[in-house]
């Protein structure tokens, strides 16, 4: 029997949830406010909150100095491209590990995860040399492949965990009804796993969107995404906080909007099981 929740407990939990939410949201809000300040107001001590001369000069300066649409397009292509490629590879892999596990399946899964523990800089030079040899430095396809490889362990693990919750009997029944392997995966497994696949896709788009090591070090002009766009506004000598904030808002806005509209699916996929 469920325990009754008192009004006092409700209020306490609500306050705690709001406090936590505001704490998480504070950096975004501060960046948003700073992006409308002058450089002088951005560094004021004590800080100014809402009562300052709001200006759009930072957004204008950022637009004048950079090619935002090109960086945005690169980010979209790289993030979406690497995620789709990853899903195409990960769905059959996760299916095999979940429904026809071998003796070493667990070891393979752990090995995949362990590759995430290698510091990225450890493979910087081999990767740069390989990319140079193939003539693909500063190309979107290079980043699509690299980011796919980086995120593949997470995609496989997420899908594997999700697939494991689907009763094998359902797939067996499909097989007994004469379904081929292809139709078993496409027509039986995938529809049941759509919430899980959707949340995996969303999470990996966010991860690829925010990746700032490879996307800066492997690009110059043609494939530079929004991470490189933001990096160009940080300065060692000089005031830059307001312009950097404007650039950051422009870079995170698309992914924030996407996250806002897809939060239901994201939470559902991450918290509910496949057959609930």
């Amino acid at each position: 029997m469920a325990r009754a929740i008192t009004t006092k407990q409700k209020v306490s939990w609500t306050i705690l949830a709001w406090a936590f939410g505001l704490l998480m949201f504070f950096p975004i809000m501060w960046t948003f406010l700073t992006s409308f300040k002058t450089e002088g107001a951005a560094i004021a001590d004590p800080p100014v909150w809402f009562f300052f001369d709001w200006t759009l000069e930072n957004y204008t300066a950022v637009q004048e100095r950079s090619n935002y649409p090109k960086a945005l397009m690169n980010s979209i292509i790289i993030a979406v491209g690497s995620t789709i490629l990853g899903i195409i590879i990960a769905v059959p892999a996760a299916w095999a590990m979940a429904f026809v596990p071998g003796k070493r399946t667990k070891d393979v899964l752990m090995w995949m995860l362990s590759t995430k523990m290698l510091p990225a800089v450890g493979v910087l030079y081999p990767l740069v040399l390989l990319a140079k040899w193939l003539g693909v430095i500063d190309s979107r396809i290079l980043l699509i492949v690299v980011l796919m490889l980086i995120n593949l362990p997470i995609i496989v693990w997420m899908l594997y965990t999700y697939f494991k919750e689907i009763p094998g009997e359902i797939l067996e029944a499909a097989r007994m009804d004469g379904a081929s392997l292809k139709s078993e995966i496409i027509h039986v497994l995938t529809p049941m796993a759509i919430p899980g696949i959707a949340s995996t896709i969303l999470l990996n788009i966010i991860l690829a969107w925010n990746e700032a090591f490879w996307t800066i070090l492997l690009t110059t002009v043609n494939a530079a995404p929004l991470t490189a766009f933001i990096a160009s506004f940080s300065a060692p000598e000089g005031l830059f906080y307001a312009k950097l904030s404007a650039a950051s808002m422009m870079a995170v806005a698309p992914i924030l909007i996407m996250g806002w509209f897809s939060q239901k699916q994201l939470v559902r996929g991450l918290t509910f099981g496949a057959v609930k």
Binding site: T38, E39, G40, I43, A44, D45, R65, M73, N74, I77, G81, L124, Y125, V128, L129, K132, W133, L134, G135, V136, I137, D138, S139, R140, I141, L142, V145, I216, L217, T220, V221, N222, A223, A224, A228, A231, S232, F233, S234, A235, P236, E237, G238, L239, F240
Partner: protein
């Protein structure tokens, strides 16, 4: 893997790429890596003029200083060829020049007049007498102080103060109740941040990084005097949390009227007297302090344009460098934006120009630059070139770790003696591992 497989793989990558831009087959395009600071951003704004004059397009890749270093170092060591021009500093230039990674700039045109480059700058950007990078702008460090607070304290700043005077003046100007700190200095970890400042300061205290046999010297009395003086002065008259303050943090404090003095890059002069400063009308300048030992505590730095050896567009890159670092560019900026906004510290003729001499900080900048000698920066003899650094590949890594030890001492996490002992151990191990 044979050539056909390699070609197949390459072609597959390229075909799969949905949007690799390719340059116009007729117009040449050069790619330049640079840092985000005022003078560089201004130069980007004039790029169209260069394209009009030369027919060469220019693509810019602007990055934060540390990211830029990592990016261009990766590119040049792998002969990547991503850039036709790189913006690098005095630390990298002699090392990369010696390694054959840069194109020598010994055949610049007569009109360019390379002899006009300030000797201190040319010396720091050369290896074995060959220029490997052309200075776009140069800087030293100097004292920037509040004339009103100095007057209120009943003191007068000499043109060439000593550290003793600076410490006394800092104490006299400090007014904690009014939120005024007598002095603001860099304590932040990082070889280009607090590491650069304490190294330049140590020169004036008679310290050096290495003796003639490349043995680290942090166990000497000179280093103890340097770091103890810094910590004592800052504890008494510096801002709270100075151990994490770098250039931008101190600029912010000074511009808000919270510092009596700030010793930092000469390029800051235009910021503290600019529109974002609340104390712009009360700023004076003086040479960086000394200790009566014959060496001042100012550094020497230049952001310079160099051509990586892997470029396919050497001639076009040289043409751009001549345009951007020549006298014509300076005159163009002066005509459009005033003499105070031209890139400083690179050419002798700029300081002979009567119009530029009217800029308030011009003479002090020149005097500061001229008083720093990268080939003779320490009181005792040392084997390295550089004022606030030693131009050896190992320095950046060692100095970053050493400056972290010092910052921990400033923050009270360990004593100065412990920090120096750790610094000695770090430097000794690294130098032995490097085979010195």
């Amino acid at each position: 893997m044979n050539n056909s497989l390699r070609a197949l793989l390459g072609a597959t990558f390229l075909c799969a790429s949905t949007g690799v831009a390719f340059a116009d087959g007729h117009a040449k395009t050069i790619t330049i890596a640079t840092v985000n600071n005022g003078d560089m951003v201004r130069m980007q704004g004039y790029t169209d003029k260069f394209t009009e004059e030369s027919g060469i397009n220019v693509e810019w890749v602007t990055l934060e200083e540390n990211v830029l270093r990592q990016r261009v170092t990766t590119d040049i060591t792998t002969n990547g060829g991503s850039f036709d021009i790189m913006t690098i500093g005095m630390y990298e230039t002699p090392i990369w020049g010696a390694n054959g990674w840069l194109v020598p700039l010994d055949d610049l045109s007569a009109e360019y007049n390379a002899a006009d480059i300030l000797p201190a700058m040319a010396g720091g950007l050369s290896h074995d007498g060959t220029l490997f990078a052309a200075p776009f702008y140069g800087e030293s460090s100097m004292v920037m102080y509040r004339t009103d607070l100095m007057e209120k304290a009943g003191l007068e700043m000499p043109d060439a103060p000593t550290w003793t005077f600076i410490a006394e003046a800092a104490a006299a100007m400090t007014d904690r109740d009014a939120g005024i700190n007598g002095i603001c200095l860099r304590g932040k970890a990082g070889w280009g941040e607090g590491g650069a400042f304490i190294t330049a300061t140590s020169n004036s205290f008679g310290a050096r990084w290495f003796d003639e046999n490349w043995k680290p010297q942090f166990d000497t009395e000179e280093w103890a005097n340097t770091v103890n003086f810094f910590k004592d002065t800052m504890d008494a008259s510096g801002p709270a949390g100075y151990a994490t303050n770098g250039f931008n943090e101190n600029l912010s404090l000074f511009n808000q009227g919270k510092c009596g003095m700030w010793i930092d890059a000469t390029v800051a002069a235009s910021f503290v007297t600019g529109k974002d400063s609340t104390v712009a009308d009360h700023v004076g300048f003086a040479l960086a302090p000394d200790n009566g030992l014959g060496k001042r505590s100012n550094w020497l730095w230049a952001w310079a344009l160099a051509i990586p050896a892997g470029t396919q567009q050497k001639a076009e890159a040289k043409q751009f460098i001549e345009w951007a670092t020549g006298t014509g560019y300076i005159e163009m900026v002066a005509a459009n934006e005033g003499w105070a906004n031209v890139p400083p510290g690179a050419r002798t003729s700029l300081y002979e120009n009567p119009e530029y001499q009217k800029v308030p900080f011009a003479q002090m900048t020149l005097d500061s630059i001229l008083s720093a000698d990268p080939n003779d920066s320490t009181v005792l003899p040392s084997p390295y070139v550089g004022v606030q650094f030693a131009a050896i590949p190992e320095f950046a890594g060692i100095a970053t770790e050493v400056s972290q030890e010092f910052s921990a001492a400033y923050a009270g996490q360990q004593t100065v003696e412990e920090a120096l002992a750790n610094a000695q151990e770090i430097a000794t191990e690294a130098m032995e591992a490097a085979g010195y």
